[in-house]
Amino acid sequence: MYGTSAKILRVDLTQREIRTEILPEDFYRLYPGGKALAGYILLNEMKAGVDPFSPENVLVIANGLLTGAPVSTATRYIVSARSPLTLGYGESEAGGFWGPELKMAGFEAVVVKGRASEPLYLWIHDGEAELKSASHLWGRLTAEVQEAIRAELGDEKIRVLQIGPAGEKLVRFAGLTNDLRHFNGRNGLGAVMGSKNLRAVAVRGSQRYQSFAADPEALMALGRKLAKGVKENPISWDLQDKGTLGIVEPMNAGGILPTRNFRQGAFEAVDEVKWDAYEKQLLTARRSCYACAVRCKREVAVNGRVSEYGGPEYETLGAFGPNCGISDLQAIAQANELCNAYMLDSISTGATISFAMECFEHGLLTLKDTGGIDLRFGNAQAMLAMVEMIARREGLGDLLAEGSRRAAEKIGGDAAFFAMQVKGQELAMHEPRGKYNVGMGYAISEIGADHLVVAHDTALVNPESLQFKGATALGITKALPARSFGREKMEHFYTLERWNSLEKVIGYCFFGPTPRSYIAVEDVITSINAASGWSLSVEDALLIGERATNMARIFNLREGFTRKDDTLPERLFQGLENGSLQGCALPRDEFEESLSILYALKGWDPQTGIPTSEKLRALSLDWAAVMLPQG
């Protein structure tokens, strides 16, 4: 088999046992890593109703087929388990260097079960693995732990994937970090790892991806082409120039910059947080993930010193900046550092604080609740204090560490209206009232409000644009307005969701392939086939993505999720308070009608959203039929 070692490392923390499993090729063709491999393992090795913090929860860390290939943006791995935030299928992907290093160490995935009786970390090196005590690391910040592990093992090049103190404290939106700068932030999977008493997975390997590839020459040639091409495409060039921060100002102009807990779409102090200000006040250097030519990562100075945690990306800046009514870039960068040191998801942390600010301004939370902190929109010091309180579960932070949905249930009154979440996960910093399919993605995503389900609507509004032309190779033929639902728009969604899901299976970053960025559909398919020796068509590849999405859907249905969970916060059906889309709301009837259309396009029952037996058969998922709700 090519493109993979096909080896999975299986770790039983309760028994302190480690073994290696080799996957057969016919299996790997159906589930070639990442989201697909994780979905299969979760469905088949965990029963329904498992407490996310129990030893029975299964934590899967899985590379994609191409993770570590010498091809720009093929760096991603996913972490998956039952999410403590949503109680559904949990998943979060990240780039960096850890996934490629795992591949070079001879493994595609790590499957962790049980719970250790004391804190441990896992050390993987060139085909071998061992568990080591982490008692001396417990409670320490992520930078300290990375340094300690590297010193202990005597190698500065070891890649450390770890949780932080927030994961140890079971904050429901605690994440994982590798190299202190790359994050599996979403869905609270750091808390799952914390519940298992597993602090870190350290990896070092010496193999090269080319040794796995069916056609290493073709792969290398494609890699050279993509390395050169990044500067020849305005979209990837812009990502290299400004990182993700370049979208702040255009989003504000378009009225889709989430501001003050999604009440508003424009921030009056945008000039203080847009890229020009960031570049002037914070930026010290640009960095990259493994073999990535896009280089969207940013290094920053915080209060006069270079941060060891990297700089805030757009989502973080949006969540702690405009969405909290804050324009202090230094404070935003400090919040980013705190999240990364304690390892919190910066989106859910910022959004939950924003929720608390609105509760405070409406009298649902008082100074007594906050411990005397004036938790109003715009108060940067209050925001910073609250990040630490959440990470440590101190005072009001203990309630907010449960996420906005659970906190709202405890607070009562109108608090539920202020909780901007779907399935328990807080919205990312993208405004659905200006991009309807982003809203549909928030609603239907199996992991709760996720902004990476489909390329955003704005990419496909002009048939002459580069992004639209890139998407035509996926079969998209008609440009449609960003603010529209309906059958044709759902056809866009269905195609783009399968494409994005494929990326999560094989290990490409959202900032690699078209239409979001610059890698052509043809080149993605070439890379898969050069690595694997297969002869996949575009349709074959889309089927792989669709299979993965369906397994995640089945996981949620098995946990009791229904159509009513594919919904959106009530606020989005009301008008924006300001900006160029002032007064614009999502049309509720069209949303519901389009949801039914989308279900049908996906081969699901249009009313219940349950995959039909015909669809399961087409996806070779017949085995999962018994897991679906009956009647």
Binding site: W237, D238, P250, D276, H451, T458, Q467
Partner: protein, 75 residues
């Protein structure tokens, strides 16, 4: 006029500059100006003249500050 580029439109600006000062002896449609500069209109998603949203066919005066934005996506 001052022409500013937001999002990835900076790529198309002369010298890849974020802003450009131009002399406009008479009012001209923005689309014509952008076409002269070889900035593809298909990539322009939003236009603001003096911070007020406008269309590509807006007539631009010498004293105006114009910002053009590309479409914005996620991530």
């Amino acid at each position: 006029m001052i022409l500013r580029a937001g999002g990835y439109l900076t790529y198309y600006m002369p010298g890849r500059k974020k802003a450009l000062r131009m002399r406009l002896p008479a009012a001209r449609p923005l689309a014509e100006i952008l076409t002269d500069l070889q900035i593809p209109l298909a990539e322009v998603d939003l236009v603001a003249v003096n911070r007020v949203l406008a269309d590509l066919d807006v007539l631009v005066q010498d004293e105006d500050e114009v910002t053009i934005y590309s479409s914005v996506n996620g991530g």
